[in-house]
């Protein structure tokens, strides 16, 4: 860490002056040992893999836009991006919370197992692809193939959804408030139950978005592709 040292009283890293490697190494191995739980990152300048692989109860505030895989594989930590995020934000997150104050590019929350991903703006293509149990709240709209092959977890979309929403869903559930351009293979609208409205209310509250849960529709798997059979034709 020759070129980058945290200022002890501010716990601040300036990526214009130091390297990503030093920052991540500090977050992985030193922060908890130093008793530091709050870290502020300045000048991310679109760097990739900021705060990925965290495994401690840290609060990381990133001021600016980030590149790919911010908070990838996150465990326990809270990571906030005060800007936009590139592809794969919070990919494979296990627990904790990742909050993108701006927009998120493709594959936000891909294969995330747990925790909460909040995107205040829009999310691009394949948001929540292969989701495995995490919750995602998108304040804006999502691009095509959101929740593609999503296995478990919940996605709340406050805006619209583009083509093929929920294509090849397994057990994940989508709540969408706006227009849906089209549903993907095996996805269908289902009636909202009280438990669904309660879930949406809870997730909106956690993410800081104010909407009436009654405005959301539920999308889930019709489960017609759960087993390989001749009538599925090329949809399988």
């Amino acid at each position: 860490m020759a070129n980058l040292r945290p200022v002890p009283e501010a716990r601040e890293f300036d990526l214009a002056r130091g390297s990503l490697r030093d920052l991540n190494l500090y977050l992985h191995k030193q922060a908890a040992a130093d008793g530091v739980s709050q870290i502020r990152v300045k000048n991310p300048d679109g760097a990739h893999s900021i705060a990925c692989g965290l495994n401690a109860d840290l609060d990381v505030q990133i001021h600016g836009h980030v590149g790919y895989y911010v908070a990838g594989m996150n465990m326990h930590a809270t990571v906030t991006v005060h800007g936009n995020a590139g592809p794969g934000a919070a990919e494979n997150m296990m627990s904790g919370r990742v909050h993108v104050r701006g927009f998120a590019s493709t594959a936000a929350g891909a294969s995330a197992h747990g925790g909460l991903l909040v995107i205040d703006g829009d999310a691009s293509l394949r948001c929540g692809i292969s989701l495995k149990g995490a919750d995602i709240v998108v304040g804006g709209s999502v691009g095509s193939f959101a929740a593609f092959m999503a296995q478990a977890g919940r996605i709340v979309i406050c805006g619209d959804a583009e083509e093929a929403l929920g294509d090849s869903l397994y057990e994940a559930v989508i709540y969408v408030r706006g227009r849906v351009r089209s549903l993907g293979a095996d996805a269908r609208f289902e009636p909202m139950a009280d438990t669904d409205r309660a879930a949406v209310k809870n997730l909106l509250a956690q993410s800081g978005h104010a909407h009436d849960p009654a405005e959301f529709r539920r999308v889930a798997s019709a489960k017609s592709l759960y087993h390989w059979h001749a009538d599925a034709n090329q949809e399988y």
């Binding site: 495994n55 594989m73 465990m75 891909a110 294969s111 397994y170």
Partner: protein, 449 residues
């Protein structure tokens, strides 16, 4: 007196007629396990030119021949060091039982080599038993998690598999028991598709960034392997090198699978022999031989195969189907309480027989290797399996060193292409070695003799 003359069609022979009639009856393509059954040019089509007057051999039973193998020396702080250049290929928990994964780990640890996880995540059993464990990062990301990333010795990003490059995967519901379902975050009994593309990156430019993310997560300690199914190998290997791989694994079309469409297994990808030469050419073209290590897999069976692969330029091999056969796959019996028990009736129930079985996809493996059935999996005792596999790997390694000594090499990694000739024009062209008795390499400039 003779009977009527029966003339079988070359184009519509009995297997073809069977195929068409089955397709007409079911409306489904066939899915099966293991690898290609058609004959393609392979390592059997190469021969060694051992030492004689122009080369000096080592004494076969006395002189030392090193087999130590280092993988991942390019960027990783902790490269993989193996005692032998023969590794166990990635095979999933789901395709195989936890007991089999345990057996693989025990044997590999005893002989000083690595095992590899597979689609479906890392089991506690294999981590405990395998001293050196390679953790696969697959498109499905089933069971993939950062704790196991940190517990692994290396990470292998799987782009494709020799049996089904570009095809993703399938684990049929009958093999999805409660534990498999839990590890994959899916309901029991559901046919589980494994995606053909990674969820969070597309293309070689993204792969550069993905590899760097994994390096950041592992603090640049663990080697990153990239595995490709053999298709456009020359370009794929160059792209993987540019993306920052430490080790490249190339899986030829004879590589096995737990369940894939037959049309894929037999008709997609190129033979291991051709793939290996293209991979080595790519590394040579980039001047990266020795910097980026190359592991070849897909139908490797014997010490002769390993020796030929190393002579052509591989740093190590990975074996999958051979490992399963060593455990008892396609054997007519399994071992219970030290006794051989016939499995013939169980083969017959599947409509097959020992030596022909490729029914891994059913989960009803008669010898308990490729099953998740609670009763059938008991047919493979991990201790017995580990002993058999250790014997097999040891034998293969002894064969390898025997050949290397005969070629005058004190280290198996000193075997070279100049030690090889080909038996057929096809193999000569694919392997880039001369047809035996000539200096002719088809497709290469030279003076035919």
């Amino acid at each position: 007196m003779t009977g009527p003359q029966l003339e079988e069609s070359a184009g519509f022979d009995r297997p073809t007629i069977d195929y068409i009639q089955r397709a007409a009856a079911s409306g489904l393509y066939e899915i099966r396990g293991l690898g290609a059954k058609r004959r393609v040019p392979n390592f059997d089509d190469l021969l060694f030119l051992a030492a004689s007057l122009s080369r000096y051999p080592l004494e076969g039973y006395r002189e030392r021949c090193a087999t130590k193998t280092l993988l991942g020396t390019r960027f990783a702080a902790r490269p993989i060091e193996l005692k032998i250049p023969i590794t166990v290929a990635g095979m999933s928990f789901g395709a195989l039982s936890a007991r089999v994964k345990d057996a693989l780990g025990r044997a590999a640890t005893e002989v000083g080599t690595s095992t590899t996880t597979g689609d479906g995540g890392m089991t506690a059993e294999e981590r405990a038993s395998s001293k050196t464990l390679i953790y696969q990062c697959l498109p499905s990301r089933y069971g993939f998690n950062p704790e196991d990333v940190r517990r692994a010795d290396a990470i292998e990003i799987v782009i494709g598999q020799g049996a089904k490059p570009g095809g993703g995967g399938m684990l049929l519901g009958q093999k999805v028991n409660p534990r498999v379902a839990r590890m994959r975050t899916l309901p029991e009994g559901v046919d589980q598709r494994s995606a053909s593309r990674h969820p969070d990156w597309t293309g070689p430019d993204d792969l550069v960034i993905k590899i760097k993310e994994l390096r950041e997560i592992t603090d640049w300690e663990k080697p990153i392997y990239v595995k490709v199914g053999a298709t456009r190998v020359f370009n794929d290997v160059k792209l993987a090198v540019h993306a920052g791989a430490d080790v490249i694994v190339v899986d030829g079309m004879q590589g096995g699978t737990a369940a894939t469409q037959t049309v894929f297994i037999e008709h997609v990808g190129i033979p291991t022999l051709a793939a290996l030469r293209q991979a080595v050419d790519a590394l040579d073209d980039l001047n990266m031989r020795g910097t980026v290590q190359l592991v070849i897999s897909g139908g490797i069976r014997s010490g002769a195969d390993v020796a030929k692969a190393l002579a052509m330029g591989a740093d190590a091999v990975a074996i999958g189907q051979g490992v399963l056969v060593a455990l008892g796959c396609n054997s007519d019996s399994y071992i219970a309480d030290g006794r051989h028990v016939s499995a013939l009736e169980d083969y017959a129930r599947l409509g097959t027989a020992p030596g022909f079985c490729h029914h891994c996809h059913t989960g009803q493996c008669p010898v308990g290797v490729t099953t998740q059935d609670a009763a059938l999996e008991l047919r493979l005792d991990p201790a017995v399996g580990a002993k058999r596999l250790k014997n097999y790997l040891q034998t293969v390694n002894m064969e390898l060193t025997t050949i290397a000594r005969a070629c005058g090499k004190q280290d198996v990694h000193h075997l070279e292409k100049e030690d090889l000739v080909a038996l057929t024009v096809e193999a000569a062209a694919m392997a880039g070695v001369p047809l035996a008795g000539t200096s002719w390499i088809p497709g290469r400039p030279g003076d035919p003799t």
